[in-house]
C-alpha cells in the first residue's frame, strides 16, 4: 500500500475520533456549568476544558482570558482557526477520505461526506438554534456512523491503519479527560468525596458513555481509585488505556506478520503494554495520577511518531 494512502486512512480515523472527543468534552462542560461554581481553583470549568483540548494558547490569543461559554463553544465547535474544532476535524477527515476514495467502502464515504454536508447545513442556521446538547449528540452520532461503516472495510493493512489512527487518538483523549477531572477541576484534596466531586465524576463517566458500564463493573460509589482503575486498567472498557493499547498491539502485530518486519513502534508498544498490563491501581496512585497520565500522553505521542516513521512517511 502507498504510504500516502496509509497516512490518509490513519488521519481520517484520528480526526473523526478527535471530533467525537471534542463533543464529549463540551458535554462535560455544560453539565458542570449547571452546577454552582466550585469556587476558587481553576479559573472556571470552561477554561479547564480548553486546557484539556490542548488549545489554551490559541483560544486566549483570539478571545482573551474571559473563557465565556459562548466563546468556548465557538472555539471548540465552529472555529476553523482551531485545528481541533469539530468543524476542522470533520473537514480534515473528509479531505483525507476524499484523497483515498477508492480505498474506502461507499458506506464509509457516505458517513464522511454526509457529516460534512450536514455540518455545512448546521453552520448556515442561526446560532440560537444550534443548541449545545444537540450538537454534541450529532457529532457523536457521526463518529459512531463512521466506526460502524469501517467494520465493512476489507480487513487488510488499510483496516489496520484506520484502527491505529482511532485507538492512538482515543487513548490520548481518555488520558486527557481523566487528567482534567483529577488535576484541573478539583482544586483541593479536602473536597474529595464531596457532592461536587461525585457530580464531576459522574459527569466524566457520562461523557465517556461509561456511566452505566461503571456501575455494572464496580457496584456503587465513585472513588478516584475505582475510576482510575476503570479508565486506565480495565481491559473490557473500550475507552480504557489498556484496552486501546491492546487494540493497537493487535493491529501492529497484523502489520508485522503481513509485511514480515517489525518497526520501532512494535518495540515501544511492547514496553508500554507490559507496564500497563501488570500495573495495579496502587502503582498509579503512588506515582501520582497526574504524573502517570502526563507520562502516558508523552509515550503515546512517541508511539504515534514511530508509526508515522515506520509506515506513513515512506521509508527509503
Amino acid at each position: 500500500m502507498l504510504s500516502r494512502t496509509a497516512e490518509n486512512l490513519y488521519w481520517l480515523a484520528r480526526y473523526m475520533e478527535r471530533a467525537d472527543t471534542m463533543a464529549r468534552l463540551l458535554e462535560v462542560g455544560y453539565r458542570m456549568a449547571l452546577m454552582p461554581s466550585a469556587g476558587e481553583g481553576y479559573r472556571n470549568e470552561w477554561a479547564s476544558l480548553v486546557a484539556a483540548a490542548g488549545s489554551s494558547v490559541g483560544f486566549e490569543a483570539k478571545f482573551g482570558e474571559g473563557f465565556r461559554q459562548r466563546d468556548v463553544e465557538t472555539w471548540l465547535i465552529f472555529d476553523r482557526e482551531n485545528p481541533s474544532s469539530v468543524v476542522s476535524c470533520i473537514e480534515t477527515a473528509r479531505q483525507n477520505g476524499r484523497a483515498v476514495r477508492t480505498a474506502l467502502t461507499s458506506e464509509m464515504w457516505d458517513a464522511l461526506n454526509g457529516a460534512y454536508l450536514e455540518l455545512r447545513e448546521i453552520e448556515r442556521r442561526p446560532r440560537s438554534e444550534a443548541l449545545l446538547p444537540q450538537l454534541c449528540d450529532w457529532t457523536k452520532r457521526q463518529a459512531a456512523l463512521l466506526r460502524g461503516a469501517t467494520e465493512g472495510h476489507l480487513q487488510n493493512d488499510g483496516f489496520d491503519f484506520l484502527n491505529l489512527g482511532s485507538y492512538l487518538e482515543r487513548s490520548d483523549n481518555t488520558a486527557r479527560l481523566l487528567d482534567v477531572k483529577y488535576y484541573v477541576l478539583l482544586p483541593t484534596t479536602s473536597m474529595v468525596g464531596g457532592a461536587v466531586d461525585t457530580y464531576q465524576w459522574s459527569t466524566l463517566l457520562r461523557a465517556l458513555s461509561a456511566h452505566r458500564a461503571f456501575h455494572w463493573s464496580y457496584h456503587g460509589e465513585y472513588t478516584p481509585r475505582k475510576i482510575a482503575h476503570f479508565l486506565i486498567l480495565n481491559r473490557s472498557f473500550p475507552r480504557s488505556l489498556l484496552h486501546c493499547q491492546e487494540r493497537i498491539a493487535t493491529h501492529l502485530a497484523r502489520l508485522a506478520s503481513a509485511y514480515r518486519s517489525r518497526t520501532a513502534a512494535h518495540d515501544r508498544l511492547q514496553v508500554m503494554l507490559g507496564e500497563l498490563a501488570e500495573a495495579q491501581v496502587e502503582d498509579v496512585i503512588d506515582e501520582g495520577l497526574h504524573e502517570f497520565l502526563s507520562r502516558f500522553i508523552q509515550q503515546n505521542a512517541a508511539l504515534g511518531q514511530d508509526v508515522a516513521d515506520g509506515y506513513l512517511f515512506g521509508v527509503q
Partner: protein, 464 residues
Amino acid sequence: MYDGNDVRPAYRQLVDWVGSTSPETLARKKEEAEALFRRIGITFAVYGEGADTERLIPFDMMPRIFTEAEWRKLERGVKQRARALNAFLYDVYHRAEIVRAGVVPADLVFRNEAYEPAVVGIDPPGRVYSHIVGIDLVRTGPEDFFVLEDNCRTPSGVSYMLENREIMMRMFPELFRSSRILPVDDYPQRLRRTLASVAPPKCDGEPVAVLLSPGAFNSAYYEHSFLADQMGIELVEGQDLFVQGDFVYMRTTEGPRRVDVIYRRIDDGFLDPLCFRPDSMLGVPGLMNVYRSGGVTICSAPGAGVADDKAVYIYVPEMIRFYLGETPILKNVQTWKCGDPSDRKYVLENLKHLVVKEVHGSGGYGMLVGPKSTQEQIAAYAERIKADPGDFIAQPTLALSACPTFEDGEGLAPRHVDLRPFCLVGQEVHLCHGGLTRVALKEGSLVVNSSQGGGVKDTWILAD
C-alpha cells in the same frame, strides 16, 4: 440516426421501445440515472466558476448506435491513424525523414511548443509514443466520417464511457437482453495489458504500472482514481515516487517498490523539475534520466504532444501515405491555416461561416463559432487573428450528425453529437467497441465540450 426523414434501421428497436413507454416512466428513469451518477460521484470540475466546482456531467439516456459493419470501417480508419501518428512521433525524434522529404514543414515540427528536444534519440519500448489515442470524429453521412482532432497525450473521458454503460445496464436491462450490444468493460484490462506490453528493457519479472495523477483537485481526478481502481494499479502523485540510482520507486508501507511503467495524467512540463519546469511540484526529480537509460516507460511518452497539434493535424493524411503507404480511410475536415496569407484572407472574409480555433487550445475554450456569433464578437476575433495569425486555424461548420436526445418537456429532439473512440497502442493496436459520445444539449449548438454545457451518451455497437 436519421436517414432522410426515416429512422435508420439500427435505431428501430429503440424507437419502438420509447414509443411504447409512458412519458412518466421515461421521466422517472431520467431521475434515477441522475441519482445514480450523484451516488457514484461522477463529477467534473469547471475552472473559473468559484466555490462549487464539482458538477455532474449531464447524461442523456438515449444511446447512440452503430452497426458492427459501420464500426469495422471506422475501426480500420482509427487504427490506421494511430499507427501513422506513432510513426510520425518516432520519426521527428530521430531522422525526421518526413521533414527532409518536404512533406511536413520543419518549422511546424521543430519550432512547435510541444516538440521536446530533451527526448531526441530516445527509443521508447516498441517505438510507441502515444499509447492511448483518442480520435474525435463527426459523421456527416452514412459513409462519411471526419476527424475533428487527434488526442495523443492523455485523452480523458474513458471513465464516462464505462460508467454510462454501467448505468444504462442497470436502468434498461430489457434493452440489453434483446439487442446484442458489444461490451466495453474489457477496456481497463486491455489498458493494463497495453501498459505491461511496453515495459522497459531493464524490467525483470512482472511489470509494475502506476497511474500518476496531479491529485484530488484536478478536474479529471475522478477518472484517474476510477481507472487505477479498475486496473488494480496504484494511483500515485509525484510525492509518492522517487528516483534512486537507475530506477523509479514508490513509497509504500512496506518500503520502496520499483515502478516500471508510469501512465501519467500530468503534462510534459510537470514531469521532472530537473528537466522541464523547475517549479513543478507534481513531478519526480530525476525521472527523465531514468527514462533515458531505459529504467522506466512513460505513457504517453514525453514529446507526444507534437502530433496532436491542430496545425500538424492538417498533415495526418500525408503521414498515412508517407509511413504506411495506404490511402487514408478517415477524412480530415478542410482546414485553413491563418498563418498562410491566402488562407488568412479567405478566413477573414468568411468568418461568419467558419469555426476558428486556437492551435494550442483545448476544451472548447477560446474558439469562435461564426454562425452563432454577433458582429462584434466576430470583429474582435478578427483582430486576434491578425495579431497572431500562426496561432489560429479555421474549419467549415459541418452538417453534423444529429441523434435523438431527451429534452425537458419536449420528449425526443435531434441534437448534434461527436464521438471519441479510444485506441490502445502497445505491442498490438486495439480499438475499444464503444466510445464517448458527446452531445450539444442546446438546440442548434455545435459545441459538445463538457466545459461548455455539453452532455454525454452511451455508445452502442450492435453485433451483426
